[in-house]
C-alpha cells in the first residue's frame, strides 16, 4: 500500500463551521448494527455503503470518537456541547474535506495541541494503530457531506 488514497476524516480541527446549518440525524442504534453501511447523517433515507476499511473505521468511530464528533451517540446525548471550541461533526465535509489525509492522521495521532488546535482533542497515536487510523480516515471520507473528492492521484514513483 504505497499510496494511501483512502477517504477519511476526523477530529477536531476546530475551524468554526458556523453557518452550515445542518440538522444531523445520526442514528446510533440502527447504525451500530449494520457495519457495512452508514446512513447519511443529513438524510436518513440515504445509505452510504462502506468498504472493509471504512467499516472498521466506523467501528472505531463508535467506540472512541462518536461522543464528541456527533450529535447523537449510543448513550443518547452527546458530549459535543460540553467541549469548547465545539468539535466538527465527523461528516462535516466543508471543514474536513479540505484537510489532507496526512493532516487528519496527525490530528488523530498527535491530538489537537500538537497542531495548535484545542487540547481537548486527545492524541490517539498510542491507543490506535496506524492501520486503525487509516480505517478511521476511510470512514470519515466515506460519510463526508458534501462528499469528499480525493485529490488527483500522484502515481508512479
Amino acid at each position: 500500500m504505497s499510496s494511501k488514497l483512502n477517504p477519511l476524516l476526523l477530529v477536531c480541527l476546530l475551524t468554526a463551521m458556523a453557518g452550515c446549518g445542518k440538522q444531523p440525524v445520526a442514528q446510533p442504534d440502527a447504525s451500530a448494527r449494520a457495519y457495512d453501511v452508514e446512513p447519511d447523517w443529513n438524510d436518513a433515507q440515504r445509505v452510504i455503503p462502506l468498504n472493509f476499511r471504512a467499516a472498521q473505521g466506523k467501528r472505531i468511530f463508535y467506540i472512541q470518537c462518536v461522543w464528541c464528533h456527533a450529535d447523537a451517540t449510543p448513550a443518547g446525548p452527546s458530549n459535543r456541547s460540553n467541549v469548547t471550541p465545539t468539535p466538527p461533526l465527523m461528516n462535516d465535509g466543508i471543514t474536513l474535506n479540505k484537510e489532507s489525509d496526512a493532516t487528519l492522521r496527525n490530528a488523530i495521532a498527535l491530538g489537537g495541541s500538537a497542531l495548535g488546535k484545542s487540547a481537548m482533542m486527545p492524541p490517539y497515536g498510542r491507543t490506535l494503530s496506524d492501520e486503525e487510523i487509516t480505517d478511521l480516515i476511510a470512514y470519515i471520507r466515506a460519510i463526508a457531506q458534501p462528499p469528499y473528492q480525493p485529490p488527483p492521484a500522484t502515481v508512479g514513483k
Binding site: D36, R53, W67
Partner: protein, 705 residues
C-alpha cells in the same frame, strides 16, 4: 476395372482427398482459434488493454504472463486460479468501486490473497477457468460464490471466538444464543445453557390458564393493532425469546389445560408485618412509592418497560430479564412476593439476584407491579375456557412432547428433549442437493434456504416443527452469517491448525464471597477473569483500582459514576456484612499483578504537586473535555469528583501510564505523560473528595444535559 478408368477414378479420389484435407485442416484450426477465445484469455488480454489506459501501466503489467495463474497451497487444499482473470488482486492503485471487474484489486483486509487463496473465504470453485464454473453452482460443484454481504461467515469458520472486525458474525452468534437455538439444535461453539426457557413444573401456581393460552397463541405483549411488536428501544430485544408455534385452537386448549394443571405445592402467602399491611394496603401513594422504589433499585437494568412518548413506543431498560410492561396481568400476587424474595427457590437457574427487602418496600413494589403494570385488554381475545378435563390434560402432555417443548422447558417427570431438531454444526458447508426445498419458489441456494427456514419454516418443509422467528433484516443476515460459519470440522490439516477456538473461562469462587457473589449474580453484568457479562465494568482488577472503604459504600448504595448510563448498578439493599465480604475479596483477590498498592500508598503527595496536577488537568491536557469534577466537564469518562476516596494512587498512576494495559479496550486514550506529570495528576486527583455522598437516586448533574 480397365486401366484407362483407373486414372479417372484416381483423379476423382485425389480431388476428394484434397477437399477432405482442406476440411480437415480447417477443423483442426478451429481448436486453436477457439482456444484463443477462451474466456480467461479474453480477460487476460482485456487486462492488458485496461492497464494501458492507466497511468501506472508498467507496474500493472510487470507480472503478467500468458498462461493460467494459480495460487497453490497444498496444505490447505487450495488450488485457486481466480487470479487468472482477477489479475490485479494486489495492485494498490486498482482498489475501489470505480475500477471495473474483474480487474479490481482486493480491498485491504487482514489476510493476503497470496497466503490464503480465494475460495477459503469466498467459496466457489478454485480450479475452474470459466466464469460460470468458478462462480456458480454446477452439476459437479455445489459451493457457489458467497455474497460479500455474508462474507463474515467465512471468518467464523476458523475464528470460533468473537473478533472486533466481525460485528455481524458476533451479533449472529449472540442471537443464536439469545433465541435458545441450542435448545433443539446442536450448534458449533454455542453451549446449551443450564436453563433455556423457564422450568414449568409449577407454572400453574404462577399464572392463569387464560394467560398461558394467550402466550402460546402469540408470545408477545407489546403489539399494535396488526400484531407487530412496536418497540424500538435502546439495549432491548425486539422479539421475545419464546417463538411463535402456530398452534391450532384444540392444541392451545389442551396445552394450556395441561400447563395450568401443574401447580405443585400451592404458594404460601408471605406473612407481611400486619402494621405494614394496615398502613399500605389501602393507601394510593403506596403504588407510586412502589414505582419509585422500582426505579431506584434499577430493576430497569435487566427488565424493560414499554413507554410511549409522542406516539412512539420504546422499550426502556435492559434485556437480561423479561420485559415487564404487562406482567401484573400475568402473575398472581402471592407468587410474585415469593419470587421477589427468593427467585432461585422457584427457578434454580434464574439470573435474578436475591434482593434484600424490607416489608415496606416489598409490599409497595408488589402493589406497583400487580396494579400498575397491567393491561385489561391483554386477555380479551382469549375465549371462555371451560373447566379442564383429564382428556385435555392427557392431550396437552402428549403435545408438549410432540412439539418439542421439553427441549427448552423442564417439567419434573417429563423427559428432556435435547437435540430435538437437526444437528446444525456443519450446516454452513451443506451442498444445495442436501437441502429440502419442497415446493418453495426461493432460489436454490444455501443462504436463501437458511433465511426461509428461519422466517417461515413451513415454506420449505410443510411438516416442519420449527417455530417461526421474526427478525429484522439485519438480524436475519447476522444469524445467517453465524450459521454459515458453522462449516463443521476443517477439511484439510492446514486449515485445522488455523482454527482459533473460543476460550471458555469460568469463575465460580467458593466460600463466603462465593455465596454473596451467587446471591447477587455479580457475573451476570460484570466480568471476572474473563467470565461473566459485559454490561458493567470488568472487575478482574477491581481490588487494585478501588479503595476498600469506597467499595463498601458503593455496594451498599451505588452512586452514579457515569451519569448518562441508562442501565446502572441495581440497589440490592445488601447488608453491611455482605458488602464487607465482597469488598474484602475484591481488594485482596482481584488485583492486577503490575499495580503495587503498597509501594504507592507510602508516597506522600505535596500540595505543590497537586497544584501542578490541577493545572495539567485543566490547561495543558484539558481532561474536562471528558471528565466531570463538581458540576463541570464532559461525561465521556467517569465523574472524578470523588476520585480521592475512590481510586488508589497506585492504580491512578498505572492507569495514566497505560490505560489499555489495565482495561483492554477502554476509551481512555494512552498519553505520553512524563513520570512527574503522572505523579502530579495523581496527587491532584487524590485531593478530590466528596464529603457528603449525594442521596441515593438523586438526579445526576451530567454537564451539558
Amino acid at each position: 476395372m480397365p486401366a484407362e478408368d483407373m486414372g479417372r477414378v484416381s483423379f476423382r479420389l485425389r480431388y476428394a482427398f484434397a477437399v477432405s484435407s482442406v476440411v480437415f485442416v480447417a477443423v483442426l484450426a478451429i481448436s486453436p482459434v477457439k482456444d484463443l477465445h477462451r474466456e480467461w484469455k479474453q480477460y487476460k488480454r482485456g487486462y492488458v488493454r485496461f492497464a494501458e489506459t492507466r497511468p501506472d501501466t508498467k507496474r500493472l503489467l510487470a507480472d503478467v504472463h500468458p498462461g493460467i495463474d494459480q495460487i497453490w497451497l497444498p496444505d490447505m487444499n487450495v488450488v485457486d486460479r481466480c487470479t487468472t482473470c482477477h489479475q490485479a488482486m494486489t495492485q494498490p492503485s486498482l482498489v475501489g468501486a470505480s475500477v471495473p471487474q474483474p480487474y479490481r484489486a482486493h480491498p485491504s483486509v487482514p489476510h493476503s490473497v497470496t497466503d490464503w487463496g480465494c475460495v477459503i473465504c469466498h467459496r466457489g470453485q478454485g480450479p475452474a477457468t470459466e466464469v460460470a464454473e468458478a462462480h456458480e453452482t454446477t452439476l459437479a460443484w455445489e459451493q457457489p460464490l458467497l455474497s460479500v454481504k455474508f462474507i463474515q461467515g467465512s471468518c467464523g469458520s476458523c475464528h470460533r471466538g468473537d473478533l472486533p472486525q466481525t460485528p455481524k458474525l458476533n451479533r449472529g452468534r449472540q442471537l443464536l444464543e439469545e433465541f435458545n437455538c441450542a435448545g433443539c439444535h446442536r450448534l458449533e461453539g454455542i453451549e446449551r445453557p443450564e436453563m433455556l426457557g423457564p422450568d414449568l413444573t409449577r407454572i400453574g401456581s404462577k399464572t392463569s390458564r387464560a394467560w398461558i393460552y394467550k402466550w402460546l397463541k402469540d408470545p408477545r405483549t407489546i403489539t399494535d393493532a396488526n400484531g407487530n411488536v412496536v418497540v424500538d428501544g435502546y439495549e432491548t430485544e425486539e422479539e421475545p425469546r419464546m417463538p411463535k408455534f402456530n398452534l391450532e385452537e384444540g392444541e392451545l386448549r389442551a396445552l394450556s389445560a395441561y400447563l395450568s394443571s401443574l401447580s405443585g405445592q400451592p404458594v404460601t402467602s408471605y406473612p407481611f408485618n400486619p402494621r405494614v399491611v394496615a398502613a399500605l394496603e389501602r393507601s394510593p401513594e403506596a403504588v407510586t412509592q412502589g414505582e419509585v422504589r422500582f426505579r431506584q433499585m434499577f430493576c430497569s437494568t435487566c427488565h424493560s418497560l414499554a413507554v410511549t412518548r409522542a406516539g412512539e413506543t420504546k422499550l426502556i431498560g435492559g434485556d437480561i430479564g423479561p420485559e415487564l410492561t404487562k406482567v401484573g396481568t400475568k402473575v398472581n400476587r402471592d407468587w410474585l412476593v415469593a419470587w421477589l424474595r427468593d427467585p432461585q427457590a422457584y427457578l434454580p437457574h434464574s439470573k435474578m439476584p436475591r434482593y434484600e427487602w424490607s416489608d415496606e418496600d416489598l409490599f409497595r413494589v408488589t402493589r406497583y407491579i400487580t396494579e400498575q403494570l397491567t393491561d385489561s385488554d391483554l386477555l380479551k381475545d382469549v375465549p371462555g375456557l371451560p373447566a379442564v378435563t383429564p382428556e385435555e390434560i392427557q392431550k396437552g402432555r402428549r403435545l408438549f412432547l410432540e412439539k418439542g417443548c421439553a427441549s427448552c422447558h423442564r417439567i419434573e417427570g417429563v423427559p428432556s428433549q435435547k437435540d430435538f431438531g437437526p444437528d446444525l454444526s456443519a450446516l454452513g458447508a451443506k451442498n444445495v442437493s442436501q437441502l429440502e426445498f419442497s415446493e418453495s419458489k426461493i432460489p436454490r441456494t444455501l443462504v436463501a434456504y437458511i433465511q426461509a427456514k428461519i422466517t417461515n419454516p413451513s415454506s420449505v418443509n410443510p411438516a416442519a416443527r420449527m417455530p417461526q422467528y421474526h427478525l429484522t433484516a439485519d438480524d436475519l443476515d447476522a444469524v445467517t452469517i453465524a450459521l454459515l460459519a458453522m462449516a463443521g470440522p476443517p477439511a484439510s490439516p492446514g486449515m485445522r491448525r488455523l482454527v482459533v477456538q473460543q476460550p471458555a473461562p469460568v469463575f465460580r469462587p467458593a466460600g463466603a464471597f462465593g455465596k454473596v457473589y451467587e446471591r447477587y449474580k455479580c457475573y451476570v453484568c460484570h466480568k471476572f477473569n474473563g467470565f461473566g457479562g459485559d454490561l458493567a465494568p470488568d472487575l478482574s482488577y477491581e481490588g487494585s483500582r478501588a479503595r476498600r472503604d469506597w467499595l463498601v459504600d458503593f455496594l451498599k448504595s451505588p452512586q452514579t459514576l457515569r451519569p448518562t448510563l441508562v442501565l446502572r448498578m441495581p440497589q440490592f439493599n445488601m447488608t453491611s456484612q455482605e458488602a464487607n465480604i465482597l469488598a474484602d475479596y475484591l481488594s485482596m483477590a482481584l488485583q492486577h499483578p503490575s499495580v503495587d498498592l503498597d509501594a504507592e500508598e507510602a508516597r506522600s503527595f505535596t500540595p505543590q504537586m497537586a497544584a501542578l496536577g490541577k493545572e495539567l488537568y485543566e490547561v495543558k491536557y484539558q481532561c474536562q473535555a471528558c471528565h466531570t469534577i463538581g458540576y463541570t466537564g464532559g461525561y465521556v469518562g467517569p465523574n472524578l469528583s470523588n476520585a480521592g476516596n475512590w481510586l488508589t494512587p497506585a492504580w491512578t498512576e498505572a492507569w495514566l501510564r497505560n490505560p489499555q494495559a489495565l482495561v483492554l479496550g477502554t476509551g481512555e486514550p494512552r498519553r505520553s505523560f512524563t513520570n512527574e506529570e503522572i505523579r502530579a495528576l495523581t496527587a491532584y486527583l487524590q485531593t478530590l473528595r466528596q464529603v457528603a455522598k449525594p442521596p441515593a437516586g438523586a438526579a445526576s448533574h451530567g454537564a451539558g444535559q
